[in-house]
Symmetry: D2
Subunit: 396 residues, 4 copies
């Protein structure tokens, strides 16, 4: 029998739900894990009714005192799904307590906080994890492997999007549109994912931001009535009263990678027609890759070295255990489609492996790695603010 690993979940929002489901399922599907995750304790604030949450998801204990939970001798791994501003204090406490710790993305609410976490983790040689879950979409993991195996060769282009459409003018002034609550807008929420994905898939690092636009299309929104919530967007159409939006709706930026690739990144909450389109394209000397989350079971691959008579984009259904597709051995037969939630279960399995000193199927970002993503986010905002615009009126 594998040794138990008592997990503490700190937070119980939307991500509390995805992580709870991950810990619920992981040992049912991943056989032979070196540690057996136990849903030991969940934390929620008093007003969140932590008992109900714990009972619902099967956490054995609950608490409204996160420090006590983190410090408890019973806990083997601390998993943070709080709002971003709380990542730092909880993680610091876990590190101080000598515990391995994972947080939802982004690493922290501010770059400064992130830096603190990185330094503390480094000093303590703590095992740390950040839940950039899309890495563990089998198609994305496969993309990473194909690049690593040299199938793409020298990369010329990296093209990333993360487009959603729930932020139209009728959507009220939810917490996601308020800087004090959300930290940032689409940029931190969406670009964070595709920056991580680009770094993960290419195995390369961004060296400069070559231009950026940050835009708030809808500058005022109606203030939602109390209690309105639900979905990503949540909320009803609310009252007539309006409040100011102080985060971005969309951020576009251009960048360069160390090994010479050029890249474009684009995120938006007002790209009508895309609901959760997290996508990457990589074009290299030997081949290209294309991934779109809305068709997450597929990876498209263009083998440019193939005979041009039958060359073209190959749509790989990434569900073949016999084909060695990452993670799918744990799941269902070929083409018995996987979904969003499986990316979290896959990460939970890999965290157990790393905690036991084994290798994950594909690398998990630790704090230091996720800090690089956060620096790129920051640099893009700097570029948007300080940009040297060329006005058309200057060109005659």
């Amino acid at each position: 029998m594998a040794k138990a690993c008592n997990v503490a979940l700190i937070g119980q929002g939307f991500m509390g739900r995805t992580h709870s489901n991950a810990f619920l399922k992981v040992s049912k599907f991943f056989k032979g894990l070196p540690l057996d995750p136990v849903m030991h304790t969940s934390f929620g604030m008093k007003q969140e009714n932590p008992k109900v949450f714990a009972k619902h998801w099967g956490w054995r204990n609950y608490s409204d005192d996160w420090k006590a939970v983190v410090r408890s001798r019973d806990i083997d791994y601390v998993d943070i799904v709080t709002p971003n501003f709380m990542h730092m204090p909880v993680a610091m406490e876990a590190i101080r307590a000598g515990k391995p710790v994972g947080t939802e993305k982004p690493l922290a609410g501010t770059l400064k906080d992130a830096k603190k976490m990185v330094d503390a983790a480094k000093k303590a040689k703590a095992k740390t994890f950040v839940w950039y879950n899309y890495r563990r979409c089998p198609a994305v993991s496969l993309a990473h492997q194909l690049v690593k195996d040299g199938k793409i060769g020298r990369i010329f282009h990296v093209r990333c999007i993360y487009l959603q459409d729930w932020g139209g003018p009728d959507t009220p002034l939810l917490w996601r549109f308020q800087k004090k609550l959300a930290g940032s807008g689409a940029h931190g929420d969406l670009n964070a994912h595709i920056i991580d994905m680009a770094r993960f898939v290419t195995g390369d690092e961004i060296t400069e931001i070559s231009g950026a636009i940050a835009e708030t299309f809808i500058k005022e929104r109606t203030i939602p009535s109390v209690g309105a919530a639900g979905g990503i967007a949540g909320g009803s159409k609310g009252s007539r009263k309006k409040g100011k939006v102080d985060v971005d709706d969309a951020v576009l930026f251009l960048a360069r990678f160390k090994k010479g690739a050029v890249a474009s990144f684009e995120c938006s909450r007002l790209a009508m027609g895309y609901q959760n389109q997290n996508g990457i394209e990589v074009h290299g000397e030997k081949g290209s890759l294309r991934f779109r989350f809305e068709d997450m079971n597929y990876l498209e691959y263009l083998d440019y070295t193939a005979n041009p008579k039958t060359r073209g984009w190959t749509k790989i259904m990434c569900t073949s255990a016999a084909g060695g597709h990452p993670y799918v051995e744990a799941w269902w037969p070929d083409a018995h489609i996987l979904g969003y939630e499986h990316t979290f279960v896959n990460q939970a399995a890999d965290i157990m492996r790393v905690l036991a000193g084994k290798k994950p199927v594909v690398p998990i970002p630790d704090f230091a790695d996720a800090y690089e993503t956060q620096r790129v986010l920051e640099a893009a905002l700097v570029a948007a603010a300080k940009r040297r615009v060329v006005k058309m009126s200057e060109v005659k």
Copy 2:
């Protein structure tokens, strides 16, 4: 608090896994179910090690005596996932014991068994269910609703496929190729699903089979070495010794529906390039529908009454709670992709609803309904056997 519903799972093969996962998750995601399913007891034969299975999936009790389980006063609902030939005896026992009972598809190993079950259920006024899980793919449920709402109008064509490709000549003589173990080949395994789907989506019944082909392409296969197993296909390439295949690899048939539609059905285990392509197209006077399981989150809809300037196939991402897409309210935000396993969880939720006297989101086939599907399966085989072939040599 909802009243508990103690579930007994009879069987622990591949479908034991999908149903266990369904009962594990259902109350975590479907809030406000009128009954609270409890994973009370699972049954497996001694040699299957029922204790290990029960413990793994969280069934509170286990047994190797199915009759005792079925008869137990503690059990509120009997769920059958045994091989097909056992559906009848277990279901009959459950009905005798006055218990609601559900079975995996098809209803029974033989039409005769199926008839017995239907008659017994009718007489006892038993609540019965058959797990044609693809009905509960949100896109398929939506297709059913759109037809019912009159969006398609008079139906002209129904075109169904269920194509897989694991049955190539290198695949050994697994149990699925042996009549005594599997009952039938692709026909019972795959056509069963699309006959049910066609009946469900159209709300109409087949009246005649107009022609059929049943074909076994690979007439002999190597006998697998002992212990070989896994996936749908399972098995290694096995020894050199060969044995006879006595089930079909592919069955095609043409049919007519009561309200005038013509239909084609085609299933195969040797349609290279399709791994689990369960698909239906319906073309009617007012519009058309198109579904393919390998892209299961989408339903394609053609509104033929729309302005021809902007008319075309609309690809609906069936994940919108706000849009009223069936079942998705229980799950994740828009375009946070669902998978194969969710169809089972959705069915578990609906079974709880029906057991409590509520309506399911879309109809669940009971024994009588599933018997109609089984009769169509049988009629197609009769047509294949007795067919009036026109030889090309007759036409000059």
Copy 3:
């Protein structure tokens, strides 16, 4: 300079237009043809105003006496685009005159006529051609080559459709719905193409029809007002008066090929959402092919022998001269999309080659070859008429 080849065009309907355009363009794009096609004479009936047609398209001469044209010493090749019932007499006259002759598909209005033409051509050793233009879609030609090159191996399944949607209940009683004018309905118009395509791509012959349905969904249609015309469907909604439809709207049939493949064919004028969807799928031991005319520049290919890690459907853009895609050297750079009309120009080029004793890029059906297609059409109708239906009421 290549020797001139004086072409006579007999007929000036829709196909008169596609063939005129083909002869207009062929020597502009295909360089180095061994014969230089000259648009010498076109024929139309007096009431069709042959002068206007000839002048419009650049035919140097015109006539309303087809026999004179066919017999004329000036003519080197006779090209027939009349209604089907005239194919036989004109072709017979051309053969008698010792001229090479081509006709639009199908070979003839009746199987009896077709047989006469085949016999006469055989006896006279005449060079004959039938314009099954879809063979010369580069993607279809490539499919033929890949099968011939052994890339697909033993074929298990052939699945063909030709679906259109202009025949809804509002479409009036055009000539295409009247047997005396059109010969047959969708079957002769559409199935003819896919039977030819299946034979061409597989290089195999159908041996039996295993079942068939011929259906007329709309049994009466309004009689169009005089002068109504246009498009495939033509006509206005016409008067209130109704007339009987005596041709099929849809024909489905199942068949077997000599080398063991099973096949399904399905055509319709009421498959809403498909306007000209002429498609074929071939599944074989080593790979599969998929073609759909509405995306005619692509051929999809599944190499089943490839590494399963990156195996999948490859979408080949069939416009690469460097890749050796058939015919495209004559046209535009890669991915500078080709269309419907190019299939005709490609055939005109190949006819010039064959007339000069050279090989065509891919085989052109001669009368004997097209007669096989026509026999299959006939056999399917026989099967639909004499079918042994299994009524559901027989199965209990």
Copy 4:
């Protein structure tokens, strides 16, 4: 009978071919044009053998003296398809001679030349045209109309790509990689098209460039052996000797539109897997549009105001005359696919209309309009050169 319009074609390269084909076909397909285009005279330099070209395409006369042709009283319209640096002198001569004049894109080799042409045309009130042919792809024309009709509403995002892949490291140092011959690289060749397309579809103007990257991935290429040519890329792999590339391989830029949209543009010759992928996406408050040239017969439209139950991307096959799709009435029945060359024929038809004082189906860019596109090209290069880069090392 329509009055003749004698066309003079100045130049006979690749674009000489597309324009000759356009004038060859236009009056065959577009009935009732107010002017009847006559292929009067073509010009080529002596070494280009203008006689052969003229004869091949059917130009009645030929010349190696362009000035004489342009000035000739016989000529009604001057059509320029020379290398870019010759656009200005020929156009100026035509304007001086009081002739309407059209040029291939871009307007001129330099912005200065372009300005001269605009000023001269304005002063002379000349009718001028620039052949941004992709505007006349029916799907693109339809996109323009839908925006104009208010179907998209306020536009948030414009996302444009023009990706090709013929410029890999093995491609030799063709004229397209040499500034003195080609003027610029991918930017002038490809971005020109998508800037025009973005302006045309949105009906809006770019006000600033917010960041840009211009990159030459392959800095040296082998010098091709004499005589090597063909395709876009042309050339054989050439000798071992290498020469310097002094144009861009790829240019990416971000921009803002007057009415508030943000935009990204990206072109490349090294985006392996795309051969001629000229694409635009527009996302607005009421809906979105998506076009990709490699699937040029489709326009995808998302009606965001539709019922969310059946909302999604609708794939419009833009070939319906009955549906009012632009230009298709001239061509073939529904879904009888159109290609690249038809965009040129459509433009030839519209030029005839404008010359006769009629309206084109959709606006044709005149010199002043095309000058705006050229200014954007220039501004993007300025932005790439003067950009304020944020180095990652600045962000800690």
